[in-house]
Symmetry: C2
Subunit: 179 residues, 2 copies
């Protein structure tokens, strides 16, 4: 109501921080074993992530700071949170000895491949296409699959995670939509 308005260059970063906030809350809801709410948080992060870029372009205020913050938030919301969610919701309850550690290994690989993808993409600085599958897609898809986990056999989850991890670090080109 009072005081100075928020500078235009800060507005996209508010959406990016909301992306990170929802990613963090997804982890909190996994702790509470509320996997539907955790999936919802990740999908809200997808929404925030699509808004920050759109707003930055509309206001012409893209910045290195914003790009950095975006990568950082993306790793938490679409790398770590979906991996922890799938591990705790699907892979860990299948704990017959070694199988459980294979599930943990798959979750770790998903998060690590997401980080490698983000580090490489930020370095390449390409604007017109993605190299490999974007982490937002991979994490968003895992969140959607977790919503319908009662309708799918368990092995869909480790299988999807391995495929998506590989596609994130692969080097084929994916066209950017909605520019």
């Amino acid at each position: 109501m009072s005081g100075r308005p928020i500078p235009a260059r800060m507005i996209p970063s508010i959406f990016t921080l909301a992306n990170l906030l929802f990613g963090f809350l997804a982890l909190v809801w996994v702790l509470e074993a509320n996997f539907d709410l955790a999936s919802t948080m990740i999908l809200l992060s997808v929404l925030m992530d699509s808004l920050d870029g759109k707003v930055a372009r509309r206001l012409s205020v893209s910045s290195d700071f914003g790009k950095e913050l975006d990568s950082l938030s993306d790793l938490v919301s679409f790398g770590v949170a979906p991996a922890i969610l799938t591990y705790q919701g699907i892979l860990q309850p299948l704990q017959s000895g070694y199988i459980r550690y294979i599930g943990l290994g798959i979750a770790v690989v998903f998060a690590l491949c997401g980080a490698v993808r983000l580090a490489r993409f930020n370095m390449l600085n390409i604007k017109t296409y993605f190299v490999g599958v974007p982490i937002t897609f991979a994490g968003g898809l895992m969140a959607l699959l977790m919503f319908i986990r009662h309708m799918l056999p368990w092995y869909v989850y480790p299988f999807s995670m391995v495929i998506l991890a590989f596609l994130m670090v692969s080097t084929f080109k994916v066209p950017k939509l909605g520019k």
Copy 2:
């Protein structure tokens, strides 16, 4: 045993990925309510984080990719993991209604301030001193405090988190040691 040796430029990134791995495992141990092991994982991340920089300088292979990967791993291991650990180990069990949400708010602020710090520091690209308290210090200190949680009153934890969150985004200069 067989095949090509790992290229020298990749070696620091192996330590950085180990940093992220231990950060991820810290979250997994929080899920299992093993807070001592979760704290240990964060301290192992501190060790890996100190090694990756040293190795990169020794081998003269510092890269933009390595720097990006380092920031990404640092947010998980020293921003998100200590925040989730402290929330679940100290703040959440104090759940008398609203108090719990204040605890959650403090944990969120800690992680968000860590992200802002990393995004800003990577952009400034300063080599000789830190601006604000490094996230590795803040996250490592919270992990140490969690080790001795039976010896300290509960209010030390929210108080430390708020102070450290503020110090991470503050702009005073902290000299780099051990260069």
